[in-house]
Amino acid sequence: MTVSSDIGLAPSARPGPVPGFLWRWTGERILWLFLAGAVFIVAIVPLLYTVDAAFYRETRVGLSAQRSLQAVLNVYTGSEYLGYLALAMLLAVLVTMLSVAIGVTMALLVGRTDLPAKRVIDLLIITPLFLSPFTGLIAWIMLGSEKTGFINGAISAVLNTVGLDPGPLMNIWSFGGVAWIMVIFFCPFAYLFTVGNLRAMDSSLEEAARMNGATAVQALVRVTLPLALPAIVASGLLIFILAAEMYTIPGIIGSNAGFTTLPWKIYEDSTVFPVHRAHAAASGTLLLWITIFGIWLQRRITRRAERFVTITGKGFRGNPLPLGGWKWIAILWIAVYVLSAVVLPFGALLLSSVMKYTAPALTADLFTLNHYREIFALPSMRQALWNTSWLAVASAVICVLAGFLISFMEVRRPSLATKSLAFMGVLPVAVPGLVYGIGLLWIYIQTPLYGTPWVLLLAYVAKFLPYGVIVSRSAILQIHPELAEGARMSGATGLQSVQKVVMPLLKPTLIAILFFVMLMSIKELSASVLLYSQRSQVLSVLTWHYMDAGNYQFAAAVGVIQSLMMMGLVLVTRAIFRVQIEKALVK
């Protein structure tokens, strides 16, 4: 056996550095070089351009050739930009904490307890992923507006019958409203990336805790949750990053509610004449440092990998914890979530898509199917459907494979080279898509790729590869090296041990990443809006154009089509990979 084919572990390997990794011309080194080159070109070069753009004097439409520190000084030392940053961080932290709390609670209930109808509940919990937050905003404006929202209207109607008039109880046009919409859409991420790990855990530790007098809840909190820490921290980091860079919802609502967050300011600086591109780039670097800190924190929390190993070579039992009398409270908790995150927003979106215009009360003459007829008559719609579909599949496959390989090398072959590659792969997540899009545009405009859907594929891979790296890393950490070692001792090659042992164990996580990246690609807007052309229309940009033009009903109709497409893609994926995603997630 030569080392050149040894992607798995050598027979005597344990987690820890393998001396001389980069000093031998091996298959691993060739793979590393290929991945490092690809990641550098696809992900790092646009990032370097973005950072560099912060150090120029601005013109009214872009950057001059003259260097200047003015934008960096304004952003890093001025109270205006730091104030926007503080609000963005407050929102991101609030959204992350609430999303993780709700998502992990549901994952615990599904993954570790005897909750009934888990398959249906699984699907319902992840259903908000099929809705873009951007189109979800349309639904929540209909539902939660102060004077004309359906929720306030329904509550008033009920209370008025008993002589009460409490006034509007909900106002989506507020800081709390922004947090509410974002929490609803980010909860499934926390659930998706923790439930697989929770289900795969050996229940003997919980049972030991129970035998020592702990209640079911105490066993979950004191034993199960700490073991799931890598997955929880990874999902929290993803949500934090997504929340910190989101500009659409805080921007549209914030202008009314009287607050501005940094991503919205970046959007304004990038697009509103006269543009402040250096300020936008400098603001992007502010978010970059914060995300790098988050990644460092995640690494620090999970630095002792063996503490989180829950899948070993030994057999394990997965007996669920009995909920007893708490079962109905748990079902009620999930039902309230499903109502808020699935039934109401999807219902409102569907309703909006068949309304002629926004109206507080529903009458028969308000409804029409013309929006759908007109949309499907547009050639750009058919093109957008095709582009969105293949871009989602292609970017997801690339991100899963590359993310797994990068993380596997980092965890099983820790060295400066593998850690640097993992760091490069994760870095683009820290940059707001809009600022990143400017970098990508500048780079690819020099190439024949410009104006084609391929440039969008490169953008999506660059943007979503970090998710493949971060999430697969947390899953790899939980698989003890002894499993691959056992396969090697039984005569398998390194590659075979990865193929036959490691990959099947990681299958739920890899499918989850595939699923996640597909959905993120379909919903991606911030880079797409800068890079698309008449030959590379995608659905998210089409939705944006309708919303931007004030035609919320057309935007809702495209949003419905987008959601149906996401669901369809999941079914196609299931057929191709012969994996039922909802089962894969909870195995």
Binding site: V61, S255, F273, T358, L378, Q446, R535, L542, G550, N551
Partner: protein, 365 residues
């Protein structure tokens, strides 16, 4: 940082080289075109090119409909529409031009100073359309670009929320907004755009300082308007009934929603700011130059502007052409009687300052 600088310097050197190569690769001799009035020849050449790429700022749906009308009129010439709003379109077009990636045949930007800048830098081809002399002076930028419609400032109201007496009061004078009965009932936007600035440009006009001026704008902000990020979000909120009226919106935006049956109407106090804000020109580097010129001819013709009237609800622009819009038959509809024409030099000089003043006032409330 030094490495980054070297790298990006190298990158830019590459970009400049690429642009230079692209320019060298371009035909050395200037291309000649048929006479603008020779439609048959132009059509023949346009058919050989087969298509054109039209960059637009206006809403996608009506513009696609306008493009379809052109395709019906000139079979064999397809129109590919790409929507990129105002300054973004300018940046994109300039970046593409500098990189030698000539994609756009026609650019249409909702910012007159930016279009003037494109014309001055010769990025727009000189093409005198056959209807040149019938178009008003404010709809022409020499022969480099033409406007297809004008924008106005209107007070758009929800007919279920504002009484006829209040409508009459609002229609009588822009300053009627200061009446205490309107406090907190109307919406404005802090969006930066030509249409959003139009009324503010008049209020901040030094010549009208005695009538409006900064004091009036301050009093307006003190009326506690509801603020939205986008002028079209404002319209949607008026339609929904969340706010009673939009203090300054625009007829074209309101028209599409009114045609769908939304319960909105609009009034325009005197003087009414009216301006040509969206100009369209043929790119000097158009990859389909004949098709682009044929389209430019058509869209500024009686037929093209009628398509704009029908699809976008814009008022007729050509001298002597009839206003065919159905809204004119409505009893509540009043045509503009006294126009306020912007001073475009002051517009270019004061836009940032005036918008900054307005945004700060609103944020301070």
């Amino acid at each position: 940082m030094t490495c980054i600088r070297r790298f990006t310097t190298g990158l830019k050197a590459f970009a400049v080289s690429a642009a230079a190569v692209a320019l060298l690769a371009a035909p050395a001799a200037a291309q000649t075109f048929p006479d603008p009035s020779d439609e048959a020849k132009l059509l023949e050449l346009a058919k050989q090119e087969g298509k054109l790429v039209w960059y637009i700022s206006a809403p996608l749906e009506p513009m696609k409909a306008v493009a379809t009308e052109f395709e019906k009129a000139y079979p064999g010439v397809k129109v590919e529409v790409l929507r990129i709003v105002g300054p973004q379109q300018y940046q994109r077009f300039m970046q593409e031009t500098q990189a030698g990636q000539h994609t756009a045949d026609l650019v249409s930007i909702s910012d007159r100073p930016l279009m003037e800048s494109l014309a001055e830098e010769k990025h727009l081809a000189s093409w005198k359309v056959p209807s040149h002399d019938r178009l008003p002076a404010q709809a022409r930028l020499g022969t480099a670009a033409y406007a297809q419609y004008v924008s106005d400032s209107s007070i758009v109201y929800n007919a279920n929320k504002v009484t006829p007496e209040e409508v009459a009061l609002l229609a009588s004078d822009w300053k009627a907004i200061l009446d205490p009965r309107f406090k907190g009932r109307f919406a404005v936007t802090t969006q930066k755009c030509g249409t959003c600035y139009l009324a503010l440009h008049m209020f901040m006009d030094p010549k009208l300082k005695g009538t409006y001026g900064p004091d009036f704008v301050r009093k307006l902000a003190a009326q506690k308007p509801v603020v939205y990020s986008d002028v079209l979000v404002v319209l949607d909120r008026v339609i929904a009934g969340e706010v009673d009226f939009a203090y300054w919106s625009f007829e074209n935006g309101a028209m599409a929603r009114w045609r769908q049956g939304a319960p909105i109407r609009w009034v325009r106090p005197e003087p009414t700011p009216v301006a040509a804000l969206v100009f369209q020109g043929v790119s000097s580097h158009a990859p389909h130059p004949n098709a682009a010129r044929l389209f430019q001819n058509w869209i500024t013709s009686e037929a093209g502007l009628a398509a704009f009237q029908a699809r976008y609800g814009s008022a007729p622009l050509l001298a002597g052409s009839e206003d065919l819009r159905d809204v004119r038959k409505e009893p509540w509809y009043k045509p503009i009687t006294k126009v306020y024409e912007p001073d475009y030099d002051r517009w270019a000089a004061q836009y940032d300052k005036d918008m900054g003043f307005w945004i700060n006032l609103i944020r301070a409330q």
